[in-house]
Symmetry: C2
Subunit: 217 residues, 2 copies
């Protein structure tokens, strides 16, 4: 499966859980198309490639689709996530309730500042970095979000690797590069650089990109 298709599948999955939460039982390709920002034809093509067939005129059973797409996405496994660096952005992520419908649970925060551990407003426990290995093992955590300052990023990255963290979502402006181990990238790293996204938007305003066929989907 290519990464565009994976993005669409995760969007379909997310939309299905929401539709189910408001009491719907069936869904049509165009509903999922709206939710994923693609055309209904692409939804049908994706489902046909996954050998998922709807009923004529009747659409798809939501529960059935959630089960099939969930199996593809590895749902059922615990999707526990920790936040490293409990500054403003880290705290905002710790409080964000939008992950639950996707089965993602923020289970702990880590910080080097003892003042942060004791704050009554923390929605999840916050631990000193010295307890990283212990908590990661106890809660079977494989994925971490990095929201530490730029100067602390490289150290933090190495500590996460040592603690056997396999996936990292990095909000620090330092681009983290995984190693190549047995032909695969390890850990899996997604870098989100907010300043860079804004830069690119300003650039695209100055030099507009031509819209492609894909943009019309």
């Amino acid at each position: 499966m290519n990464s565009d298709m994976l993005v669409r599948i995760t969007r379909y999955y997310r939309a299905l859980n929401r539709l189910r939460s408001i009491g719907l039982e069936k869904v049509f390709a165009h509903n999922l198309a709206d939710a994923a920002g693609v055309s209904a034809a692409i939804v049908r093509k994706d489902f046909s490639q996954l050998e998922i067939h709807g009923q004529k005129r009747g659409g798809y059973e939501i529960l059935d689709l959630i089960g099939r797409l969930g199996a593809i996405l590895g749902k059922g496994e615990p999707q526990n996530v920790i936040v490293i660096g409990c500054g403003r952005i880290g705290k905002a992520l710790m409080h964000y309730s939008g992950f639950e419908p996707d089965g993602i649970r923020m289970v702990a925060g880590f910080d080097t500042d003892p003042v942060v551990y004791a704050e009554a407003s923390n929605p999840i426990p916050v631990y000193p970095m010295s307890r990283l290995e212990e908590v990661v093992e106890a809660m079977n955590v494989k994925v971490a979000i990095i929201t530490v300052p730029e100067s602390a990023t490289a150290d933090c990255y190495q500590r996460l690797i040592d603690a056997d963290i396999r996936g990292i979502l990095n909000f620090s402006p330092v681009t983290l590069k995984p190693q190549i181990i047995d032909g695969h990238l390890s850990p899996v790293v997604h870098n989100i650089n907010i300043a860079l996204e804004l830069e690119q938007i300003f650039y695209e305003l100055q030099y507009p990109k031509e819209a492609t066929a894909r943009d019309e989907s």
Copy 2:
């Protein structure tokens, strides 16, 4: 210029400003390579394509490079940005100081909740949505960050388009789609869906991608 190269140029530009801020005058390809997470060969290839030549053994003049790359990136123009939705994530972005080295200025926040306008801790002014057009025009704002709840996203998007905002960085889980006007996408939209990034990381842990030649750069 393709988008990979643009990302690299913005990273070089950012690194150059930092190196200058600590007093350096010259830079070598491998310094920029480290900062951008690529090889020195790629830096040299990019510069050669842009017809930027260093001195033999002497590297590049930092000020000269900042000027040339800045011109390519459209620096000099005001890069004022507003934040729509001053919840936890919006506030974290309003307080984030990491944009200034890139010439990006957060100039105002907007919210529908009057309680937010009056908070003494706001680092930049926060206005009611009814003043959007007025402030955007007065401050010559072209780019907005959306951090409103999912249910408010579609309305907010239309209001920004009506206020002549041309670029949007969208943190809402609703995927915003631009229109195609004269063959170009309008407004320029970058969607950052944090839950989706985490989903993809979990998926890649389950089905590892093969590392490509590009990953070795």
